[in-house]
Symmetry: C2
Subunit: 341 residues, 2 copies
């Protein structure tokens, strides 16, 4: 028993208004008196009207859809960021079309083209595959998070500050030698700030330090093997010295901590470790370790606010485009646990 | 410099076909000869026509949108499942509107109502808040995963098999006493199978066993405190016995392993541990531990296939509804690592 769809004609007949008036109720309600709005609203209830949003989109061009492009859902950082962005539904009412890129640039580009055909209102990009120059050329409200952002508005963690915080903590823990292990990050990505922050603090305070730029691999077993080599080299080079090690993320910090703990059956006094991200592993590890936490909820909120402002501007009669991309940075939070207090 | 939208009128004028013919090209191309299809296709390229999918949806009712409702993105199980479902885009072309429930039943219900207004074609539900009876009443192609599913089609892990596999492995490791720690799962949820599998194998083989049904809490620190109490009780009760412990998930198995490793500085011979889920923590732990892995890729693929079959049926002239919900089970995979080989 399928229910018949209620049309604008039905509502017009029931209320004795013209079809144009009914259409105006849906697309520009403020052009009607409050009394007439009320009459139509009551009629909708009486007729058991189910809104067809697709028809409405066609009338006013507002889909209330936002696209999200993320690189993967394996890293906790991305799944938490997605979680926080999706939860803005309660604030703004935007629905999210989510796509996971998995480094496949051509599929990602095809997906974005599809989204544009669906007349989505805006897009948030966390993946790294498509340049900010190309993203900007789509001529759509757009915000990037924690990636190359020369031509796009963006929200990023203050990575420089995070690197400085981690280094400062190791310094305060009386380490004789400070070490930062990272991959060879390109200077134009926000994450490069961690390296810069480490180097600046060490140089400013005249601290003995070593920067190890090496690819620790993509699989877990590979990362263990390579971290073991780094650890062996450090033990040989800095015997008897208290070694303060700032790892580029919590996954690698955990691997290092496990290797040390397995070797000594405990966490020895001549090591201090700080990770980055405050991902669950930092508290689930054999002993909870110190880390630099990104304020993922704040980043998500700021990104959405930046996007909503652009989307609202587009709905004006004479929208003025952004004169230049807006870049926001969010301060990270140092979390002190057992490995560096 | 905004580009003018190309309309059906423009295409008709360019090709000298009627507007009806152009409309048929988009909505029922097979009603045109191949030659005429080619002429129109060429015209679209020449005119730089950008498809407006919203208009097309209105014409043929196919949005190509599927809704996904997940409880949270904190648990790795859900983020991996979401990842696998989203990656079916390349196979089926469906775009996904994703919503995270976070246990808020009324917001979840409101979101689903919105999705229905957007004429989505189907929905996949992983959250537990809304009963399968209510979900079935939406009269929409729908599949649930790993939750109560009396009135809905579903895909679940064979939890009974998983419980039996874990128990069998502990038995083979020469344990004197088998212990299963779980929360008081309701018998109608799929996860109850783990308890049943454990009990049946123990009884069948006449093994000494203990079932501990207790809430280990929601926060990590709470879980540590409560697991410590469980461990203390087991150490007092089964001194000198080899204890084979099957934990209900990897998060709790890791906590138990950490407590034991911290106490002894190693993993002692009189313990054997098996977790459930094969989440990253099972390999990132102080020693990689044995676990029962769910085939998340298979579950996601089966769920999508089940949904696509229902959605395709709806597009037929005389769709026949499913006579009864279809329930599929996917076999789990036992993964042997250092804590039980």
């Amino acid at each position: 028993m399928e229910k018949k769809n209620i049309t604008f004609n039905d509502i017009a007949r029931y209320t004795h208004f013209s079809k144009t008036t009914i259409s105006r109720y849906f697309n520009n309600p403020d052009s009607l008196t409050l009394e007439n709005q009320k009459k139509i609203a009551d009629a909708l209830v009486a007729l058991d009207y189910k809104e067809n949003k697709v028809a409405r989109i066609l009338a006013n061009g507002k889909t209330e859809f936002v696209g999200i492009i993320i690189p993967n859902l394996f890293l906790h950082y991305y799944s938490q960021m997605l979680n926080q962005i999706l939860s803005t539904y309660e604030t703004y009412g935007y629905k999210f079309l989510v796509f996971v890129g998995n480094e496949n640039e051509s599929v990602e580009r095809q997906y974005i083209q599809e989204l544009l055909a669906y007349k989505i209102e805006g897009i948030i990009v966390l993946s790294h595959t498509i340049s900010s120059k190309e993203l900007a050329s789509y001529d759509l409200p757009l915000v990037t998070i924690e990636r190359e952002d020369r031509y796009t508005s963006s929200v990023n963690t203050d990575n420089y500050m995070g690197g400085a915080q981690a280094t400062g903590l190791l310094c305060k823990n009386g380490c004789d030698i400070l070490i930062h292990v990272n991959s060879d990050v390109p200077p134009e990505t926000p994450a490069y700030g961690r390296i810069q922050g480490f180097l600046d603090i060490c140089r400013e305070h005249g601290l003995e330090h070593e920067l190890i730029l090496t690819d620790l691999g993509t699989s877990h077993s590979e990362a263990i093997d390579r971290t073991k080599k780094v650890l062996d080299a450090l033990e040989a080079k800095y015997r008897k010295k208290r070694k303060g090690i700032f790892m580029s993320n919590d996954t690698y910090a955990n691997i290092l901590l496990n290797l040390i703990f397995q070797k000594y059956g405990r966490f020895p006094e001549d090591y201090r470790i700080v990770g980055f991200d405050d991902s669950p592993i930092s508290s689930e590890a054999i002993i909870p370790f110190s880390t630099v936490g990104q304020q993922i909820d704040v980043i998500a909120r700021e990104a959405m606010a930046l996007l909503v402002a652009q989307m609202n501007e587009r709905k004006k009669r004479n929208p003025s485009p952004l004169p230049a991309p807006i870049h926001k940075v969010v301060t990270p939070v140092l979390i002190r646990r057992g490995t560096a207090t």
